[in-house]
């Protein structure tokens, strides 16, 4: 395998920016259409009243909150993984970080929409924000939803900047390669980037600080999302394990999301020279670790409930184990544990295809996990008289699934305007530090694991 040179990298990675095929328009039309349909559905929900959903007494959270947790989980792919890989200076990260960070940014934006979508009065969502209003009252800082607001706010700000910083030099490249209005726009986005040693140092220092800052923020975000549940005295919610359990689950689903995105990009943007099977294998190993961790947490959660034998909790326990929700529960176990263990644990299955299959399984499984945490417990809360079953209605399903199209749409648009693989970082990968490695040659294989 030959290694692309600097100008080759420029040509390959800038290609999608300057050449638009009919496929792009088709994808935008399809995904955009679905997103518009979803938006229209949400609009009718807001106009007609929340009753068009399947939410009912006493199951007041359903598809929307499930989707919220799911997308926030997916968002842990990027920034967290990329930050960790940056800090440990894993060389193979270079082609991966950008597409991972993009997932974070967009998944967060979509995830953050759901609390608004799910509100009974979404037009008043800004009341979560502390500002001097005529109501003369500020939000209740003791509410986990306000923590959510602050945590997501910090994480979103951090992730967007974390995504933006390493794009600055790439924006400068696009600026130099383009003309006219586009040159002006990219010029503005490049913030006067020239590439002096000082700029490079400042950028790298900033990236390091960001990486260090964003990791605890990412951990806190999903811990706080888990607090939304564990703070309420609902059977099986009110548990101390939820924080790490959710963080592990988030990274798990995040890796799966990243693997799918990478495979799709590799296929459609013809980045076979940059995204190697090795990247998939390495991430696959990471996913295997997370699957084991996830299995450990689920075992832990189940065992403690079972052993405690508290009547209200046991009612929820049996409901998922062998009752109404058993099919979903066991599907989840297969998708999240059995499937990744087989596909990622056995070397010959740890191919790109294997990774994608396992990842799709994990995405489905993790969506089910959130659903199974939320709905069965709310339907079986202490007083048997008030037991209830939730069934989603078409509007909820449309809105929730259209966000997948929204993710795809944002990704397609992003890949159209920004090099989806960090050009300068890829080039920098050609120059490993001389103390560690012999001088860069054409034969030097990109992506060797330098952990």
């Amino acid at each position: 395998m030959t290694h692309p040179t600097g100008s080759q990298i420029n040509r390959d990675l800038l290609h999608p920016l300057f050449n638009t095929s009919w496929r792009f328009y088709l994808l935008v039309a399809i995904f955009g259409g679905i997103v518009l349909f979803g938006l229209a559905t949400w609009f009718t929900q807001t106009v007609n009243g929340y009753g068009v959903t399947g939410i009912r007494w006493p199951v007041y959270w359903g598809f929307y909150v499930t989707s919220f947790v799911f997308w926030i989980g997916i968002s842990h792919a990027g920034t967290l993984i990329s930050a960790i890989l940056r800090l440990v200076n894993a060389g193979w990260r270079r082609p991966v970080t950008r597409c991972a960070e993009v997932i974070t940014a967009f998944a967060l934006i979509i995830g953050a929409l759901f609390p608004i979508i799910h509100l009974g009065r979404p037009w008043l969502a800004f009341w979560m924000f502390p500002y001097p209003s005529e109501r003369l009252i500020w939000p209740n800082f003791r509410s986990p939803l306000v923590w959510d607001f602050f945590a997501i706010n910090t994480y979103l700000t951090g992730s967007l900047l974390f995504l933006y910083l390493p794009i600055i030099p790439d924006f400068a490249i696009v600026r130099d390669k383009s003309t006219g209005l586009r040159r002006k726009i990219y010029g503005a986005l490049a913030l006067g980037w020239r590439g002096t040693p000082k700029q490079w140092h400042r950028l790298e220092t900033a990236m390091q600080i960001m990486a260090i800052a964003i990791i605890p923020v990412a951990v806190s975000v999903h811990t706080i999302v888990s607090f939304d549940f564990s703070m309420a005295p609902v059977p099986t919610w009110n548990t101390t394990i939820f924080g790490p359990y959710f963080v592990a689950g988030a990274i798990f689903s995040g890796i799966a999301g990243l693997l799918i995105a990478m495979a799709v990009l590799r296929k459609f943007l013809h980045l076979e020279a940059y995204l190697h099977p090795l990247h998939f294998e390495n991430l696959g190993k990471l996913m295997l670790v997370m699957a084991l961790l996830w299995g450990y947490f689920v075992f832990n959660e189940r065992l403690v409930t079972y052993y405690g034998n508290e009547p209200a909790e046991m009612s929820v326990y049996w409901r998922t184990q062998s009752g109404t929700f058993a099919p979903l529960f066991w599907t989840m176990v297969i998708c999240n544990f059995v499937l990744p263990l087989i596909l990622m644990g056995i070397r010959r299955f740890r191919t790109i295809t294997g990774c994608v299959i396992a990842s799709i399984g994990v995405v489905i499984g993790m969506w089910l996990e959130r659903f199974l945490i939320i709905v069965p417990a709310l339907g079986h809360k202490y007083l048997p008289y008030s037991y209830g079953i939730y069934r989603p209605t078409p509007p909820e399903i449309i809105v929730a699934s259209s966000t997948f199209a929204a993710m795809a749409l944002l990704y397609v648009l992003f890949a159209k305007v920004v090099p989806i693989i960090s050009i300068w970082e890829l080039k920098a990968g050609e120059h490993p530090s001389p103390e560690l490695l012999p001088p860069a040659t054409e034969e030097h294989r990109l992506g060797d694991l330098h952990l």
Partner: protein, 750 residues
Amino acid sequence: MDRRSFIKLTAVSGTSAALASCGNPENQFIRFLPDEDIVPGVAVWKPSICPLCAAGCGLTVRVMDADAEVTRDGQAGIKRIAAAKKLEGAPAHPVNRGGLCARGHAAIQVTYHPDRITQPLKRSGDRGTGQYEAISWEDALAEVVSRLNGVDAANPRAVAFLSRVGAGHRSALIQQFAGHFGGSPISFELFGDDVLRRANAVSFGRDQLPTVDLANARFVLSFGADFLGTWNSPVAQSAAYGDMRRGRPGIRGSFAQVEARMSQTGASADEWVPARPGTEGVLALGLAHVIMAASLQPAAAAGRAGSMVAGWGAGLSDYTPQRVEELTGVPAARVDRLARQFAELRPAVAIAGGAALAHSNGLFTAMAVNALNALVGSVDQPGGLSFTPQFNTGSALKFSPAAQPATPLQMLAADALSGAAVPQVAFVDGVNPVFTTPRAWRVREALEKVPYIVSFGSFLDETSALADIILPDHSFLESWVEAVPESGVAAAVASVAAPVMRPLYATRATPDVLLEIGRGLQRPLGAAWQTFDEMLGASFATLPSTTPDVDAWTDAQTKGLWSGVLPAGLARQAQAVADGATYAFEAPRFDGDAKQFPFHFLPYPSVPFGDGSTAHLPWLQEMPDPLTSAMWSSWVEINPTTAANMGISDGDVLEVASGHGSVRAGAVISPGIAPDVIAMPMGQGHTMFTRYATGRGANPAEILAPVTEAATGALAWAATRVRVTRIGPPDGSLVLFAGGIREHLEQEHR
């Protein structure tokens, strides 16, 4: 609605209302000066009387200003009126003592119902289609008068007046009106108590429902009487029940209920005793046997009621516990224990009612329970049965007694269908026999033979839709109301209340209309009063005043009631009925072959709807049934074992078929019903009864067999046998409020 909420509602619903109103002058916000005697924002409380059942509970109505769309002096617009806002139990009323049941609370929706008939109507389409056109009161009354002038004066059955039974002034007036044409008002109540009244007349010489002194009883044994839910005077009985349980320091009254399907009352019992349908009297005599055999009865036990029971003098040797077990299915040991409790926990009282008396042998059962009460000396004693002295409105008004006994409804129907005697004019007031009678009686077809039907209904229901002319009554809040409770109090009570608000629509009070028609007849009715309130005044004036320096009528209006000791001439007299017969158990007669129709069918009065007359009130439709939590629907109750054997799960659509028809409803699997009994609540299944009740659920009366109790002719509504077929999975028609029914569900998961 007050102005604030009105503005809010308008704002909420956008500008659509305002825009829509631009075109229609009658919808514009015309604001008159308030002419009502009301201070905006200040609530006043006025007395009234709940009209929804015969108990006669006293109400306190909260009246406040509100903006209503009304027509006044020919001009339509939004007007500030004094409107009733809420009904509350009158704390000083001796019947309900401040309490009020669900139905009573919802009664306000009768007045504000969106489908009320707002003015006289004349039929313009085929009968039963509900097509009517407006007619003026003058024309309508003239038409009715001319029809009445044309009837055959010699035929005592030329005019049929279908009405509710009662002891009040309105009933007295109707009786007088019907008597003017030689007849008597015809009343039919599906869950009526004719059998018990007859038994009380025979046993105790009182043709009346008993008042049970629960508050002082230490042991209550009820044979099928849903006295906390739908039977007799539930609020009064509930208040006393509360005191029976916890009103006396150190004493908690015990309570056992005998019935084949657990009623709301049975649910409150300490001991629920399922007995085979129709054998409740055997159990009562079994208890009497044990008591007499062990000589547990008090020395001064009254014996007259017992002497009506065959074998009483010989200690009821036919009713040994073993024999009782064979007949009723109640274990002999339990019979023995219940008997000892009944005799030892004095005062003890037995109550009979509901399904226990709705058999072909109902009179025997009632006689047996009466005898049991007499045996332990519980008649006219504290903690026992007594009979409320009742104001005889007929004699106060100097009305002549009924010329001849009323024709039973089924006979009227049969004669009309056969052509033997077809009424020329029929009046319908406050009853809906097309809905409440067994389809087998063919009342609807019979009424269709009647050439001219006048209805006083406020709503189009199955019966009033057959009417040729509808003269809508005021709602009870808009008119003078009165009640003379038959039971529920110790002393005589007569309630009366003035209208609490002005009529919303061009309706007229039915008693006033009857008086006016009576004046217009060629042969006038000859009543001494122009209006109903004059008549009430005259009647109450005959009563002794209970407050010094105030006459009885003024006093009654202020308090909402008169209560005291009745002068001899004004009380309904005890009538000793001595038919000389004695009563022995004979097996109840059931309609339908036990092989073909393996289940007993038990329709029962629903807690919110009774026999269905209140199914049009949305609050009651949405009130969860106490036992099943069902709303807006009908259901079929079935025993879990039976259901499992037949492969029926909760909510499955079942068909219940008797020899006379079939109905369908969702299954409710209930542990509180015998394996061979199928129960269905009455109330739903209306084919026409306002937007809230029409086309909802099924009417169990449709499949009832025309079995009657021989002596009284009362319908034995628990005497039908049915078969049950599973039609399919739940179809969504059964709406339940609640999910789980047992505290410990996890056992089922294992």
